[in-house]
Amino acid sequence: MGLDRLTACVVAAAALLVAPGCDSGGHRPARLLDGRPAARFDRVDGSVIAFGRVVELDARADRCLAAADRADVSADAPAVERVGVNGASLTFANRDGSLVYACDGGIDLAGERAPPWCHTVVGEVQHHRVLDPRLDVLCSDRSRRPLAYAFVDPLPGTRWIGVRQDGYVELYEVLGSLPVRVASTRGIDAPNARASFEISQYDASGDELAHGEMEAAVAG
């Protein structure tokens, strides 16, 4: 075989090797973390709607909320349960609404927390906004990739919070007058305990109200 043909073969082989790599990630997932089909919102290209509902807290947080905090959280407090593609969370407030809690789902790499929850965060609320996104980088997804959680404060009129993921936009519905707990496997700087989220906010008809990067760091 001549050098040119050999080169052409090498190039073709390399292309074959690379092509599946490009296509293997970055596609719209068909299912959420718990196996339910991933719904889409037609007004947002490549979207996946994370499941969300408002429930009564009851005993749902028993395995994530510290005993010392339980007295300050009512058992019938409204809680927002969310299941996305890689993450799941439970968000609720204390009795006077000054603190918001999130139980973050995932695998605790240190092996000290049994699923579904791997960590709990607490955020301080002032004027109906959480002061800090309360970044959590202690969890990983089922593939043991780092998973980051953060709160997003919705703007007035926002119905959906969109988070850019690899190849799709994950949409979280604004529910229960609480900040929205979002999850992502993108943009995580684990050694520096930081993460950046590409966030869009949409109104009920799917019109984009805001778009930007949200930088978050572990603090407090």
Binding site: A66, A68, T120, V121, L138, A190, A193, A219, G220
Partner: protein, 202 residues
Amino acid sequence: MRTFLAMLVAGFALSGVTGAQAYHRFWATCNSDAPTFMTTMTRDAAQDYANAARYEGYQWGGGCWNYDDVDSYPSDPPQETGTHGEGGDCSGLTFKTWRESTDTTRDGRYYWRALRNVHGPYDAASFRAGNGAPNHTVAKATAGVMDAFASSTHIGMVFVRSLYGGDQIVEAKCETCGTNIFYRTYRGDSAYGGVGRWGWTG
């Protein structure tokens, strides 16, 4: 008159820049050097490390300070990680004092220099829960020197155990109160739990 006005404008512009430059001067000294892996970690040395951070300020999500006994930026807005002020926050000070790794599965001893800007992956609630391989919960009654008390929003380390119910606690408390040693009654406060670090060698 024209010259005077031009100089006045230039003067205002320069006076505005001074603060930003000073800010930059402090922040420029912070670094991202690798920690030094240590085989030892004594409670005495941890006391010295935390004691040296006194008066250096408080920065939400921060972990960089020098040793000039002055908070370069004492009035940053609270709960803003991007203000690049001096000092650690409560969990950042604990993380560095306890010589922890940024990898939660590692429980070795990593010495971070004061100017190394690092906070670590734990917040106060994580410490309280004993999250991470180097951390564990302890009974509050038995918490000793350089163990800690943590709530869902704050953590402070026992500097000296006191006789009358409280303790001298070394902690990074807030922007206005900075990092210092304070008398606290966290030991008797139900919001706080006891936390310890595995691996003391003395």
